[in-house]
């Protein structure tokens, strides 16, 4: 088993700097998810760990070995690709056994290990089929089978569910979660889907423009985002940001308000603000409630989306800025109705303007 450590890892193509100094420590057996918008460098970083891209500078350690210059096969990693990358001319059995064939394993060994992998992935009945006869989800199972059969120290997943439809994606997501519990191996998983990140990860690494924005447990990132980007990226619908004026500072708390918001005291979470400064107040739609009384925020209903268990209301605040509230019950709001909203100041985040 292996822990992975990246120290000041960089990647440049000529003058284009794609990965700009990344430090990450992944513990043995941890499920680590790299998440970020497209072009943030998360796939490149994964491919650098796999050995498919070389590392311009910095050190990469897998299991206390520096592996910067080792070819992929000697790093003890297995990888599952977005496009599955299963060999079209081989049967499922041959595909799953591919790594063993390459290593020159005996037929008996191959049969035993393929059977075990097939049992874990519940695909015994598929073994003699060809990839062209399989559905997308089944192909992805084959790709995972090929990865687990060699018992690698580290699994790398490069957006494995992106090519699947929504229902299947959820099933496979759960399967991958179970697989991690079963195998206990270190896994690194790249996705742009924050639901996959939140549900699967022990540790999330949020990336943007080749830099780490924040590393931490999913709930840690959700409740204590380190910056505006992480706050806006995680959670759906995404966090509301209101432009507010800092009225005063008192220790770790700031008094803020704007045209639609009555003055409220929120924690500064170590960030520094000056009185009179304009700042952004982050409010998750889920933590807003409609108040029967006067409330803290005032606006007009612009749109209602009723989803049954949840009602998403778009509100135009008194200062004309938009606000989304996700209410955890079914409710009807006439268009244009005036509403007052409440929130728990402990759930609000204050960020400096960028």
């Amino acid at each position: 088993m292996a822990r992975i450590s990246l120290k000041d890892v960089r990647k440049s193509y000529g003058t284009a700097h794609v990965i700009k100094g990344v430090d990450i420590d992944i513990e043995d057996g941890e499920f680590c998810v790299f998440v970020g918008p497209s072009g943030c460098g998360k796939s490149t970083l994964l491919r650098m760990i796999a050995g498919l891209e070389d590392i311009t500078s910095g050190t990469l350690e897998i299991g206390d070995r520096t592996v910067n210059d080792l070819p992929p096969a000697q790093r003890g990693v297995a990888m599952v690709f977005q496009s599955y990358a299963i060999f079209p001319h081989m049967t499922v059995r041959e595909n799953v056994a591919f790594g063993l064939t390459i290593a020159g394993a005996s037929k008996a060994e191959k049969d035993a290990k393929v059977a075990e992998a097939a049992r874990i992935l519940q695909m015994e009945h598929l073994l003699d089929r060809r990839p062209s006869q399989l559905s997308g989800g089944q192909r992805q199972r084959v790709a995972i089978g090929r990865a687990i059969v060699r018992k690698p120290q580290v699994f790398l997943f490069d957006e494995p569910l992106s090519n699947l439809d929504a229902a299947l994606r959820m099933d496979m997501r759960m399967e991958i979660g179970k697989l991690h519990n079963q195998l206990g191996a270190t896994m690194i998983y790249v996705t742009h889907d924050q639901v996959e990140a939140m549900t699967l990860a022990d540790k999330i690494v949020v990336l943007k423009d080749g830099q780490v924005m924040q590393v931490g447990a999913p709930m840690d990132l959700y409740h204590n985002p380190a910056n505006l980007f992480v706050a806006g990226f995680l959670g759906a619908p995404s966090m509301n940001f209101l432009k507010v004026t800092v009225q005063g500072i008192d220790g770790g708390r700031a008094l803020v308000s704007n045209g639609a918001l009555d003055p409220v005291e929120v924690a500064t979470a170590g960030r520094s603000f000056r009185a009179g400064e304009t700042a952004l107040l982050g409010l998750r739609p889920q933590y807003l409630t409609v108040s029967e009384g006067p409330g803290q925020l005032h606006g007009q209903v612009a749109l209602t989306e009723r989803l049954g268990a949840e009602t998403v209301v778009e509100i135009t605040l008194k200062d004309a800025s938009p606000l989304i509230a996700a209410l955890a019950h079914d409710a009807v709001f006439p268009l244009g109705a005036m509403v007052n909203l409440n929130f728990d100041p402990a759930r609000a985040h204050l960020f400096p303007m960028e």
């Binding site: 796999a50 992929p72 096969a73 990358a85 081989m90 390459i102």
Partner: protein, 357 residues
């Protein structure tokens, strides 16, 4: 959106018309004419009316017979020796005006062999030159198809890399394909020249005069080989481009997956590249075979079938017969025979390389 061009039949026919007329006039019509004429005694120019002669042209071309002869013996019963070899009755005594063997009339010796003992078997052919042409053509195909396909694959694998200036090499390898085969043949005639040819000079220089000049095209033992080498060189670039297109259809992630599993270069080729090239390989094999059977221009320019018929080929014979000897029906019969050979080989190749389910 249905525009006038996609719905109007008339426009469509007008556009396809020129191509249809040309294909009909120069491919389809000659094809059926050749089949028809091969059963007649049609000549290029003749005052006599054309007659239907049935299979006589084919019998003339394909007639083969064997005779096994005992060596001549003198009165004491000992074998008559001539130049250290036993002497056999002359073939001519059998094939000319011999009322006992009317079936052998007009045949000539093609080759002979002996299966141990003193008796010798003579293979006679009604048209020895055509038989040599068939054999030469088959030798040409059997050597050129695998060697050219293999070389082209090697070049394609070398070319299919991301290296600076790789396009220069692509252009260089493809250049001979662009040049007319007649021009290439003329140039190679100079290269192969027996006296001061480039090849002889080169061999002389690198061996410090140890290798004497060879008359590459003038010696029956080297002429066909010289033409084979030159033909492989000329078209290898074309096959290379086809291989290259096949290589580029293989998904790069398959190579990455193989790299992660630790495959060596040979294993990558065996498990990823070669299976991915299967359809390309079938295409290339069929294309090369067909092209090789059509060997003509090199022969026409470089050797004219000589020396001693050592570079006769089927197509060269068809042209020679039809226009040189003005025997259109004979030339047509040769063309039809070639058609049957190529068709059956292609069908066999298709069968052998079919997708096994």
């Amino acid at each position: 959106m249905a525009s006038k061009f996609t719905v109007s039949n008339r426009t469509g026919w007008l556009m396809a018309g020129p191509a249809i007329l040309l294909i009909a006039g120069f491919v389809i019509l000659p094809f059926f004419l050749a089949i028809g004429l091969s059963f007649t005694n049609q000549r290029l120019v003749s005052p006599n009316p054309t007659e239907f002669v049935g299979l006589s042209n084919y019998r003339q071309l394909l007639g083969v017979a064997t005779v096994t002869l005992e060596p001549l013996r003198d009165d004491a019963g000992a074998v008559v020796m001539k130049d250290g070899e036993p002497e056999y009755p002359s073939i001519r005594s059998l094939t000319r005006n011999n009322p006992d063997r009317p079936d052998l009339a007009g045949m000539r010796e093609w080759f002979s062999f002996s299966l141990g003992g003193e008796a010798k078997t003579f293979v006679l052919a009604r048209d020895v030159v055509f038989m040599k042409a068939v054999v030469n053509t088959f030798i040409f195909v059997i050597v050129v198809a695998p060697v050219q396909a293999g070389l082209a694959l090697g070049l394609a694998l070398l070319i299919n890399q991301r290296l600076r200036g790789i396009n220069v090499f692509r252009a260089i390898y493809f250049m001979p394909v662009v040049v007319s085969i007649v021009v290439v043949s003329l140039l190679w005639r100079l290269i192969y020249d027996g006296q001061s040819g480039l090849l002889n000079n080169l061999l002389d220089a690198i061996s410090f005069g140890l290798i004497p000049p060879v008359n590459w095209l003038g010696d029956p033992s080297t002429a066909l080989g010289a033409i084979i080498a030159m033909s492989i060189w000329q078209a290898v670039g074309f096959q290379m481009v086809i291989w290259l297109s096949g290589l580029q259809t293989i998904s790069p992630t398959l190579y990455e997956a193989a790299a992660i599993e630790g495959a060596s270069k040979w294993q990558v080729f065996r498990y990823v590249t070669w299976p991915g090239l299967r359809n390309t390989a079938v295409l290339i094999l069929i294309v090369i075979t067909m092209q090789a059977f059509g060997l003509f221009a090199q022969i026409d320019v470089m050797t004219n079938g000589g020396p001693l018929d050592s570079t006769q080929t089927i197509v060269f014979q068809a042209v020679e017969r039809g226009y040189g000897k003005q025997d259109i029906s004979g030339g047509s019969a040769i063309s039809v025979i070639l058609f049957v050979i190529v068709l059956s080989i292609s069908l066999i190749q298709r069968f052998l390389t079919r997708e096994k389910s």
